[in-house]
Structure formats: C-alpha cells, structure tokens
Symmetry: C2
Subunit: 339 residues, 2 copies
C-alpha cells in the first residue's frame, strides 16, 4: 500500500444470497486532484456496515445501488491532503462518504470536521457517529422507553445494538440483548451492563426470551428480522413499540418467508412498529451528539471495535458482519499509522 | 315487546367463522331493580359494532369473552326509570354499557349523561360517540395527516370510516375511501365529499388504488385487513402512517393467511403502523367531542345511520355488518317511540 496510487475496493459482481469476498475486487487508480470547492482526503478508517448490503441489489432499496465496477460506498474519516477551498485547510480531520478507498475527493460542503480531542478518531464512525446516532434516535425517539420498562435489542453486540442497550440502561430500563454466541452474551452482561442476554442459536428462544423478560417486552429495537422478530412479537405488552432499524437476517433474500400479519399483533396489542433511518432525525444531531459524547467520555457507555488492517481485508470484514464475526463497530484501518 | 318483562339478546353458541343469526337467542327476564348507587335504564338504542365479534371467541381478544347464555355486550343510550342514587334522577338520559336488552342496571358512576339538545339521541352511539371518537383519535393522533397528504380509509362507508374521511377532508387532505359497492362509492364522493372512492370487489384493486392515489398513500386508516391492507401497503410513501383500527375481514379466522412481513415494508418506507383503541385517548375526550360536535352541528360532517327496530332484529343487524349491509352507524331502536 503506497501513496503513489489510490487503492480502491470495487463491486465486482452482485452478491447472490450472503455476500462472499469474491463479490468485491481491488483496483489501483490515480490519486485524485482537488477541483475548486473540493478537497482530497486520505482516509484513515472506512466503515463497514450491514446497511451496505441493501446497496448491492440491482434495484434501489433504501439508497441507490452501487454499480458493478464502482468503488464500494461507505463513510470514512481522514485527513485533508489537498484543498481547492480556502475555507478547508490541508491537515484538517474530516468525515464524509469517501467509499472504500485510500483517497477520495469530496465537495468541502459535504465534509464534517471531527474534534479529535473528544475520543479516538475511529469513534467518529461508531459510537460517536452514525451507529451511535442510530441507536440514540431509534431507541429514544422511536422506541420511547420509560424507566422500568423492558427493552429488547437484537444484534445486541453490534455497533448499534451495544449502544442501544447501554442508553436504555442509562434511562432506567430492564435491558435484554439477543445475540448469537455465548461469548457475546457474557460481554453484554459483564461489560455493557445488560440485565440479561439471550443466545438465539438455540432451540429454546421463546422460553429463554420469556425467562429474560418476566414482565413482557415493552420496546424492541430490531436489527435482525425473521424468526427472532416473530418470537419477540409473541411476547410484547400492550402499547409496545418496535423500532425497525435493520433486518440483517433478511438482507440477502428478495422474498422473505411469509409470516402471520404483523398488523394483527399490533392491532391486538395496540402496539406500534416503525421503520426509521438516522437521517430522519438529523435536525437533532447536535443535541444527540452532546449526549452521546458525555456518556462515552464519562464511561457510562463503553464500546468495542473490530478493526481489520488494510483495504485488502475490507470485503472479508463486510462478509463477516453476516455471520456475526464482529463485536462492536467493524472498521477498516486504511493507514497503519492511524490512531 | 311489553314493559312487563325485560327482553334480552343472549349469545346462544360461539360463532364458527362469520356469525349467523342462530348464534344468538332471545330471552325474557324480570325487569331489574335499582340497588343503592345503581340506576335502572330503559334502553332507547343499542349499538351494533364490528368490534363485538372479538368478544365472541372463547379466548380473550381485546376484551373479555361473552359467555354462552350471557346478554350480548354493547353500548346503549336510554332513560333512567329507577334510581338508587340521589344524584341520578329518574328521567335522565344516559349512555352506558347496557348490552342488548330492554332494561339494564348500572352503577350510576358508570353512566354518562347525554345532552339531547346538540343532536339526535342516536348520535351518542355514532358520530358523537365511540365511533366518532375512534375516527378522531385514529386519524389525528395515530395517523397525524398533514394538509395535502393522501389519506386512504377502508370500511369507508361505515360509522367510523365515514367520519375519518370527513375529518381528513376538513384537515385539507386528499381523501380516498375503499368500500364494497358502487352505491357506497357514490355516497362517499357525492354525499361525504371524498375525493375518490374505490370498490374493492373488483379484479383491479391495485390499479384502481393507484389511479385514486396518484401521489401515493401517506396515511391509512385501516378497518378491514387482509388483501386490501396488502394492496395499500404496496403504495405507501416514505414516512407513511398506518392506523390499525380494525380488521373486519379477519375477525372470523383464528389463523389469518400468511403475508410478506409488514416489518419489511415499514423498514423500507420508514413508515409506522400502530394499533389503537378509543380508550387509549380518553383523557382527550372533552376536546375531541367539542370538535366533533362543532363539525356535526355546522354540517361539515354528515352522517348516516342504519337502524333496525326491535331487539329481535339485533342479531341480523350484527351479522349484516360483515357483509357490508349497513351504511353509516348500525343501531337497534329498542323502543318505537325513540327519536
């Protein structure tokens, strides 16, 4: 990996089912130049997120499709190395949608300056970035938990889920996490302060969920979909709220299995189910970031990161999301010297 | 029908599938007496509502089951004919859960006095009663329509649906009603001021809905369920809201057909689906009733009633709800002299 060329990860072909490493390819391009009003950014970290699976379909699906041969999309943080805008200095640290590449150009108006004093740079893509805000809005604005209520979060050991559970704990809720390994279950309870954790890879999900939620479920923060959602819905309380953040178990199928109508459960339980995207709440970002920063710097929220080195390993990191290989935020460290 | 005995409609057996008249029976009992703190009410009108189907299952389902041999439940209006409470005078007009019978006793604390000057007495069970409030809360609090948005209501010619559409029209929405006959479609447009009406008993529901909703669907007020809901969900806009009031098409089946997960649609469209019951908003009743009364007395909301005479015809009126026999509020006039 040299600075002479711009290493990029491109979409080689459309995944069929669960993505594999061979769906992506590497390419070396020329380092771009900064036009007027643009900056060239050398990426330090790029983000690897489950939502990206939705951008790999031929048809639009919560965002425009990535074209075959196109650099894989994604958020990143990095340093401005050339600028065509007097208001943006070389050396500044910024966040933007750089894609999986070493160098990216962007309109300076689309770059966000990052305060590196608050926390390590990588957190700008995790607990103090999109995943943290997603957790904050989905739980507090969509889920609207009250102290003493039971909150269940799926994908609980992931970047979003781990923040959801800790915010719910801060708000005085009983917090139950669902994840896929015993080690992650222990992590949720021992490290993150969840009240209980349930491993969904058993034959006893309904019973385990009932044992973890003796007073039923008031709020679901849903990242997974499929059978786990059905099991949770069987145990919701009157006036429950279900925040639909993702459905990682169903991202790979165009036609998911049929289920009993969710409308029937929602009608009977006078409950609410709502899909959302972090951008829906962008006007509250300042307030939300202030709260998250306070919780992280005071140690009330702890976070983990799963970091791979080098863009050569980005595809494998992405594929690993769908088998639950990561704990906490999955990142690619593009430059070895990044903090 | 004499005043010497108390004619009652009782549940004779549990309906299998769509209720039939033979599921109910008539009984003559003694006229009850008023104990301390109670009143005896002679019913003038009793209400016949789709929700009652849910009370006929053996298992609880949005309310306790009616027992075999028990007087059929339901709201009514009538006149106090005996009182064991100095604060409640004989001759007062009241509303309460009297059931389908000529005379009922009730604790006076559970009776609501009705102002007969505002509108005909029957409206206290319709547009100025539970159905009107259901329309008001479901549309405004759950659906939260904004002027210019497209609102689609199912069961649109019924007691609730016809009020929903007119409130939405008052709020500046494009209003589309779905119902089951061409005559009802004309009624919605010609009499109630809907912008368009769609007859679901065709082979072209998707196309007809698309033609009626050229800008997509922002709010659904749902009384029916099943295929009609699926068709509407295929055309919802980003951030749509679905208020689940009822599912009359599915009240008769313990296990409705499987469908694609509603969660998937809600996730993709960042939409919200919520079940509710009129009681959920009881603390706003005064404000809501003031608004409804103003709209009705000023002629901004018009209403229809389908009235049968005599408790002997209550069961047939109830059964008729499920084939769409009624237009507007279905009532039983218990006393011929009622206004």
């Amino acid at each position: 990996m040299t600075a002479a060329t711009n290493l990029q990860v491109v979409l080689a072909r459309r995944p069929v089912g669960v993505p594999v490493v061979e769906d992506f390819g590497l390419r070396e391009s020329a380092i771009p130049e900064a036009g007027a009003g643009e900056a060239v950014v050398r990426t330090a970290f790029v983000s690897v997120d489950p939502y990206m699976r939705g951008r790999l379909w031929e048809q639009p699906h919560r965002g425009d499709p990535v074209a075959i041969g196109q650099v894989m999309i994604g958020e990143g943080v990095g340093e401005v190395v050339a600028s065509g805008d007097p208001a943006m200095a070389v050396g500044e640290t910024v966040r933007g949608y750089f894609g999986w590449q070493q160098y990216a150009t962007a309109a300076t108006g689309e770059l966000e300056r990052i305060d590196r004093s608050a926390a390590p740079l990588s957190t700008a893509l995790g607990v103090l970035g999109m995943p943290g805000l997603t957790a904050y809005y989905g739980l507090l604005e969509v889920g609207q938990p009250r102290a003493g209520e039971t909150v269940v979060v799926t994908g609980a050991a992931g970047a979003v889920g781990s923040a959801v559970g800790q915010i719910a704990r801060i708000k005085g809720c009983r917090v139950v996490g669902i994840c896929g390994t015993e080690a992650k279950c222990r992590h949720l309870v021992d490290d993150l302060g969840f009240d209980a954790a349930v491993n969904y890879r058993t034959d006893s999900l309904d019973d385990d969920l009932a044992a973890a939620c003796p007073d039923g479920i008031d709020v679901i923060f849903e990242n997974v979909g499929g059978e786990i959602l059905e099991a949770m819905l069987r145990q919701i309380n009157l006036h429950a709220r279900i925040a639909l953040c993702g459905a990682i178990a169903q991202y790979h199928t165009a036609e998911p299995p049929l289920v009993p109508p969710h409308s029937r459960t929602l009608h009977r339980r006078r409950a609410r189910m709502q899909g959302f995207l972090v951008n829906d709440f962008a006007e509250q970002d300042e307030e939300a970031m202030a709260a998250l920063t306070e919780w992280v710097t005071s140690g009330q929220i702890v976070y983990r990161e799963s970091i791979v080195d080098g863009l050569e390993n980005a595809a494998a990191a992405f594929v690993g999301l769908f088998s639950g290989a990561n704990t906490g935020k999955q990142l690619v460290r593009v430059r070895a010297e990044s903090d």
